[in-house]
Amino acid sequence: MSFDGVSFDVGRVRRDFPILSQKIRGKDLVFLDSGASAQKPRVVIDAMVRCMEERYANVHRGAYFLSEAATEAYEAARAATARFLNAPDPRGIVFAKNSTEAINLVAHSWGRHVLQPGQAVLFSEMEHHANIVPWHLLKEDKGVELRVVRVTDSGEIDLEDLEAKLADGKVGLVAIAHMSNVLGTVAPAERIVRMAHAAGAKVLFDGSQAAVHRRVDLQALDADFYVFTGHKLYGPTGIGVLAAKLEHLERMPPFLGGGDMISVVTLKRSEWAPPPAKFEAGTPPIVEAVGLHAAIDYVTALGMEAIEAHERRLVDHAMRRLTDIEGVRLLGRAQDRGGVFAMATDYAHAHDLATLLDRAGIAVRAGRHCAEPLHTRFGVEGGTVRASFGLYTTEAEVDYLAEALTKAREFFA
């Protein structure tokens, strides 16, 4: 198949993922929970096994072959991550545990030392709790003000509201999901950066969803902080990324203290290593970095543009198939959206529906997807069932979901 001139064969791609050939309760697995965590291609699994079988030791300062090889592999993962995001400098790439930890790192280190009381942090109504709670903690600790930019009924960031809330120049940081994990909305990132910078604010994007589906060009975007996580990008759990402008990292004190992040330690005081080591205390996720590198190589070889084109087609198909099912309400109809579909029904509680879909082999998430304020905003009390796509999702799977949603209504009637 060819989309926009870029070839993408979803059937072939699916064969790269061992887990997808599995039967669940005797039915073909229809995995529609990639937004929570994506499945892993063989190349990622193999790279991690090979690292442990052939090239494993602790990194940095082990003056022997295996440690040097592991260090090289770890730093190569950093360089690959920088290239993946088109970041200006690999020293601006900090490995963390996940996106949540990366945001907490910024809130803790930059937020507590660079932001001043009287300044504000602004986030949106469509944030994941990971981009809300760290700012609540910062507010309690430091007395900064929190502002929340509204989301329109169609699920877009309300840019007029953003403009108004930036107007007094007190906002020090705009922290926004690049793509919503519930509405699928892709935020107009370039525009947000321009507006924020014009108002004197720095910008952090939670790219946990977006980095998986779109090419991110940090040099073009000019974001101050960008975070994403390995396990949603077909890589392993246990590794996330903070990409930041070096000038910010240099001004920030360490997040955690320990080995590997210092240059001089006496019993009385320590001197910090330069970034990114300053923010990577203790033994880092070595095998996970190798896995992330393999995942980045995998999606890069497929082509982020090809992946995006495939998913765009899939989203268009899903918008046709999932929007006219009786009793099903889709949250969010943003113009620019990715493959995340949260649905509330008038016939079943989200958990009952998810149990039903599971029996049909369909894996979806039920609840509020760590975005309780957003569900309140859209008047959904009990939660939604969320289907989220990966690069291996097919139109036939979307059709099967639509059919199951229709039959579920009969079941509960």
């Binding site: 509680h349 989200a350 009952d352 029996r359 049909a360 609840g367 009990g382 939660g383 079941f411």
Partner: protein, 154 residues
């Protein structure tokens, strides 16, 4: 597509889920407690009215939840009426064993009739992620009997 789910969603459960019995506040309740399942956001409040003999004279609940948690709460209010606190605790223990294992070999013969009524919920034991839906109301019952205000199925 979903035929084998009739074991879990038996007609009794769908019926009680759609039209829960005793779904009201008891303004003159002697005991009440809130139950919360933070995982899924299910929430209920259980009210008990005790008679002069110490037995549960009336039971009611309010809240929101899935079909299984609503049906379980509804059946609870029907089966605990007339029970002493001790009997209600015993019923609660038996029910939780039923929900977790599908059977209750050690259940008291005295509760046989009540357990029979609760039997349709036994199918939940095959769905580990849903057992808590069925037991939420019963945790809340224990909290109410013990004079606690909050119960969580976590």
């Amino acid at each position: 597509m979903f035929d084998d789910l009739r074991d879990l969603y038996q007609e009794v459960i769908l019926d009680h889920g759609r039209k829960p019995r005793n779904f009201r506040r008891l303004e003159d309740a002697d005991r009440s407690a809130r139950g919360d399942n933070p995982m899924c956001g299910d929430r209920l409040e259980l009210f008990l009215k005790l008679g002069p003999d110490g037995r549960i004279a009336d039971a009611a609940f309010q809240g929101r939840g899935c079909a299984i948690s609503t049906a379980s709460a509804s059946l609870l209010t029907e089966t605990v009426k007339g029970k002493t606190a001790e009997e209600a605790h015993a019923l609660s223990d038996s029910f939780r064993e039923l929900a977790m294992t599908g059977t209750c070999p050690h259940c008291q013969a005295a509760l046989e009739e009540e357990m029979e009524r609760l039997q349709p919920l036994s199918g939940v034991h095959e769905f580990p992620s849903r057992v808590k839906c069925a037991t939420l109301a019963w945790h809340t019952l224990n909290a109410a009997l013990d004079g606690a205000k909050e119960a969580s199925s976590e």
